[in-house]
């Protein structure tokens, strides 16, 4: 396969940052089809249009996801990428894998694919870029039999669930994210591998409100760790921070001299609800007003820790901006216990209520967050059998009309109009 002239792509090698163009040129020495990737991309830069065709019927037997068909619309000019399918592998929870495992996956991909990878995709998958249709089944066989690794989700399926490091490495984990992520991955194998829904559906699990996997922005079903009692305060450690004995933010911003730690300017005044204050040299918190922004815990991790009654908040309906712009997930279940002893039955019940409703009323290619926007949060909460709380309200109502449900009005909506006119006739 010949090299192509790529003057536009070559510009991307000139900055101080690593360049995928350089990587592709290096890889092309072993896998000549990578020259054709560069050639086709150069053509796309010139034409200002993609030259990948959209979708296909490729997959492995029994699976309706995990492989994304990609074909060139200029295969005569770039035969090396005539087929260039993407394979998504389900990553281990928290992306805990050994270097040996990564080498095995890379070796397998050198054997069956272009050798190009994308780690990690938005749902955390190990993404393998570029193979041909005849290679798919042999790759899948080796992957599942030799590497004990499965495909991830794609299409109108449950996408590969993803979680943060959780309690494995983080003191703020309010539940075992890895356990929940792995358990639900196993529980919902059918939904991951075969299409079930009007559109994609993503689970993400964060152990605390720092939300390191961006569950609230990127998942249809975000499980974010929280606590329902009081933030634990070590007053001696608070004094230690004030005296400069401990570095704030655990040293995370220590590359510059910020001056002496100022608890008022750096913590109290930055609390979004103003629920913290000092009484003498003691820190006080009105926990009922805490919105779990995590700022104070992040600044003074020795002094402040999450409460002991731990669980999670479930938020529903985040999405990227295909329709109506991007949206964050809406807080739906304020607090739920994450209980491995029940095999997470409480969480599963919430998930399946959402799915039953969305599968019924969701339109084709409509994310659940869009369905909620279209039909309305009050209906969604009713379906979920959740009593609204003030935190469900985005802003005070500006519409002056009051909409009652019929069963909330004495006598319902039926009335004797003739009788009404007798009393109210002008």
């Amino acid at each position: 396969m010949p090299k192509h002239d790529t003057p536009l792509l070559d510009e991307l090698e000139k900055g101080p940052w690593p360049s995928f163009v350089t990587d592709l040129k290096r890889q092309a020495e072993k896998k000549p089809e990578c020259f054709d990737i560069l050639g086709q991309l150069e053509l796309s830069f010139r034409d200002k249009i993609t030259h990948w065709k959209h979708g296909g019927i490729v997959g492995v037997f029994g699976y309706g996801g995990g492989i994304v068909g990609r074909y060139s619309d200029v295969p005569d000019r770039f035969p090396g990428v005539a087929h260039f399918h993407t394979v998504r592998l389900n990553q281990p929870s928290s992306k805990f894998y050994s270097a040996a495992k990564l080498r095995d996956i890379c070796d397998l991909w050198e054997k069956y694919g272009s050798g190009m990878t994308n780690m990690h995709g938005s749902t955390g998958d190990l993404v393998l870029l570029g193979t041909t249709t005849p290679n798919l089944e042999p790759l899948f066989y080796d992957l599942t039999h030799n590497l004990n690794q499965d495909l991830g989700g794609s299409g109108s399926n449950l996408r590969t669930p993803e979680c943060c490091l959780g309690r494995a490495r983080c003191e703020w984990g309010c539940y075992d994210t890895q356990n929940l992520c792995h358990s639900l991955t196993m529980h919902y194998q059918d939904e991951i591998h075969r299409p079930a829904f009007p559109y994609k559906f993503k689970f993400k699990f964060s152990g605390c409100p720092n939300d390191c996997v961006a569950a609230i922005a990127r998942s249809d079903f975000a499980v974010i760790g929280t606590w329902r009692d009081d933030i634990r305060i070590d007053q001696a450690a608070v004094k230690g921070y004030i005296k400069g004995e401990f570095i704030p933010n655990a040293g995370a911003h220590s590359g510059k001299d910020w001056g002496k730690f100022d608890i008022k300017a750096e913590v109290l005044d930055l609390c979004p609800t103003g629920c913290m204050w000092m009484e003498g040299d003691s820190l006080k918190i009105d926990n009922s007003e805490c919105t779990r922004c995590m700022h104070c815990l992040n600044v003074m991790p020795r002094a402040l820790r999450p409460g002991l009654k731990q669980g999670a908040t479930i938020c529903v309906g985040a999405k990227a901006p295909i329709l109506d712009g991007a949206q964050f997930a809406t807080m739906t279940v304020p607090f739920i216990e994450i209980n491995p002893d029940t095999e997470f039955a409480e969480v599963i019940e919430v998930i399946e209520k959402i799915w039953d409703w969305w599968m019924e009323v969701g339109k084709n290619r409509e994310r659940v967050g869009e369905t909620i926007m279209r039909i309305g949060l009050p209906t969604f909460l009713k379906v979920m059998e959740i009593t609204p709380v003030p935190q469900h309200v985005k802003e005070p109502r500006s519409n002056p009309y009051v909409f009652w449900q019929e069963d909330e009005v004495e006598g319902g909506f039926e009335r004797d109009v003739v009788e009404f006119r007798k009393r109210n006739a002008q």
Binding site: G55, G64, G155, P195, N364
Partner: protein
């Protein structure tokens, strides 16, 4: 569910084979048995794929169903 699973599968396949659209969303099959739940319809359609009578077509973000031979097959175009 008013229809048995086999009856539902037959209706789905008929729609996939004879409908004006070659590729259908799973929701398009709900009308095959209005009394069946979405999961029943989805399971029946997926069974037909396993049996080789239908196939998935996926853009990567959305999946559609088609009777064997009716889906847009980029490989053979």
């Amino acid at each position: 569910m008013a229809l048995s699973k086999d009856e539902l599968k037959a209706k789905i396949l008929e729609k996939a084979l004879t409908g004006p659209k070659a590729q259908l969303y799973v929701k398009d099959f709900y009308a095959c048995d209005p009394e069946a739940g979405p999961r029943d319809v989805k399971n029946a359609a997926n069974d037909l794929v396993k049996e080789g009578k239908m196939t998935f077509w996926s853009s990567g973000s959305t999946t559609m169903y088609a009777a064997q031979g009716r889906a847009k097959d980029e490989e053979n175009r």
